[in-house]
């Protein structure tokens, strides 16, 4: 099969960030999506597109194919899944979990987002952790209240998420474990009760992905957090 030339590869690498949204783009769409999700009744299959279709007179055929395509992909998530036919559009097929969407009026404007290379893993100092509906804006990550003031930090929930991450690494899916640990970080951040366990799990996942340098750095964080951590002996053997 024809491969990309080194020249073409270099070109693609050099232009990898083309097409990224601006901070204003991100915030505008986020606000609109949050508002749409907070609306009383879920909208059917994409309203703007449906309206566009009606105007163009393409009829129900394309709408149906979009809905079917979306439904199959959203349920099937890529090739290899058993075939599932879904009779209705995604919005009506599944019962989504209660979205942890803050009311629009309570959502504080986000701090200027990070550089275009999305630092998915980097903690954003001034970005609020996602509050539950009706909650106040989150305090800065550095603050650690003496007693839990917000009911949304659920130790059982934190434990469940970490347990899933650990299981994923054990079962040979360290990439998925890291995704879960990112969720853990965003959900609990500095309020995490299981911070040592999360760091240890991260080291194991990074080792599983062959990222020894990153794993070493994370192990150093754990060591700095608690030099007597019971997890150190395990993580210090993980990659090396």
């Amino acid at each position: 099969m024809s491969d990309l030339s080194p020249q073409a590869r270099a070109f693609l690498d050099a232009h990898a960030d083309e097409g990224l949204p601006s901070p204003g783009d991100r915030e505008r769409v986020r606000a609109a999506a949050v508002a749409a999700l907070a609306a009383p009744s879920p909208s059917p299959a994409p309203a703007p597109a449906s309206v566009g279709l009606a105007k163009l007179g393409l009829g129900l055929v394309v709408s149906a194919s979009l809905i079917a395509g979306l439904a199959l992909w959203a349920r099937g998530e890529g090739a290899g899944r058993r075939e599932e036919t879904v009779a209705s559009p995604p919005a009506t097929v599944v019962t989504p979990p209660a979205p942890q969407v803050p009311p629009v009026e309570a959502s504080a404007p986000a701090a200027p987002p990070p550089a275009p290379s999305p630092s998915v893993g980097a903690p954003r100092k001034n970005a609020p952790t996602p509050p539950a509906v009706g909650a106040q804006a989150a305090p800065a990550p550095e603050e650690r209240p003496a007693a839990p003031e917000r009911p949304e930090v659920d130790p059982a929930e934190e434990f469940r998420l970490l347990a899933q991450a650990q299981a994923s690494t054990r079962e040979g899916n360290p990439g998925w474990a890291l995704e879960l640990l990112e969720q853990h970080h965003r959900r609990f951040g500095a309020k995490a009760l299981l911070e040592e366990e999360a760091l240890a799990a991260r080291v194991m996942a990074q080792c599983g992905l062959g990222r020894a340098t990153e794993a070493e750095a994370t192990a150093a964080l754990l060591r700095a957090l608690n030099p007597a951590s019971v997890h150190l002996s395990k993580v210090e053997r993980a990659c090396w």
């Binding site: 099969m1 024809s2 990309l4 030339s5 073409a8 070109f11 693609l12 232009h15 083309e18 097409g19 990224l20 949204p21 769409v29 986020r30 999506a33 999700l37 879920p42 994409p46 597109a49 566009g52 979009l66 979306l70 992909w73 959203a74 349920r75 998530e77 890529g78 090739a79 290899g80 995604p90 919005a91 097929v93 599944v94 989504p96 979990p97 979205p99 942890q100 969407v101 999305p118 630092s119 998915v120 893993g121 980097a122 929930e157 469940r160 998420l161 994923s168 899916n173 990439g175 998925w176 890291l178 995704e179 990112e182 853990h184 970080h185 965003r186 990222r211 990153e214 150093a220 964080l221």
Partner: protein
């Protein structure tokens, strides 16, 4: 040894996975959005959705993803799953876009545009749109496969399912797209 305080380890595209269903109840829309909006936005732009329609496509994609969350079982990466949803929305928008352009343009403007002159391409490169312009030069079928596989990291079976074409057809389109991109880049970077 200096301790990098912000190095949490960035999960890169780790490819298809076979993890058990994740506990999506622990997710939040904000987290999902913040983690993946850049990827989804860029993919939509790369697929050719015009600037004025990107907002709607990205918004619809995340709304669909959020409402379909219970069905996500972690068999692909979250990014792959989202890009797939965005692709379907983008394709729908592109059909409308093509129809709008066809109905509003005079006949001779509907003919395939001639290859961009190197000077134009150089100027475009300076404007930071060189890749997007190169992708514009690909036929739609090749562009879809090239963007999804070469740029977004989906596998051939995943693309085959999305496009509803055989895997061999996916590979064939990718081969042609790569050859076209090789030629276009070579022309772009020819010394003038």
């Amino acid at each position: 040894m200096a301790i990098p305080v912000t190095d949490w380890g960035r999960p890169r595209n780790s490819g298809p996975m076979t993890a058990p269903p994740p506990d999506t109840k622990a997710w939040s829309f904000e987290a999902l959005y913040e983690a993946h909006v850049d990827d989804v936005w860029r993919a939509v732009r790369r697929l050719g959705v015009e600037v004025g329609s990107v907002d709607d496509v990205v918004q619809d994609s995340f709304i669909t993803a959020w409402r379909s969350l219970a069905g996500f079982e972690g068999r692909s990466s979250v990014k792959t799953w989202l890009v797939g949803i965005a692709f379907n929305h983008a394709r729908h928008a592109l059909r409308a876009q093509t129809q709008r352009r066809a109905s509003s343009a005079p006949l001779d403007a509907q003919l395939p545009s001639p290859q961009r002159a190197p000077d134009d391409a150089v100027a475009t490169q300076r404007q930071g749109q060189a890749l997007l312009q190169l992708l514009e030069g690909l036929p739609v079928e090749q562009r879809e496969v090239f963007v999804l596989m070469e740029l977004e990291g989906l596998t051939a079976p995943e693309v085959s399912q999305l496009l509803e074409v055989p895997v061999n057809t996916v590979y064939s389109r990718l081969r042609l797209a790569r050859a076209a991109i090789n030629d276009a880049v070579a022309r772009l970077e020819e010394p003038t």
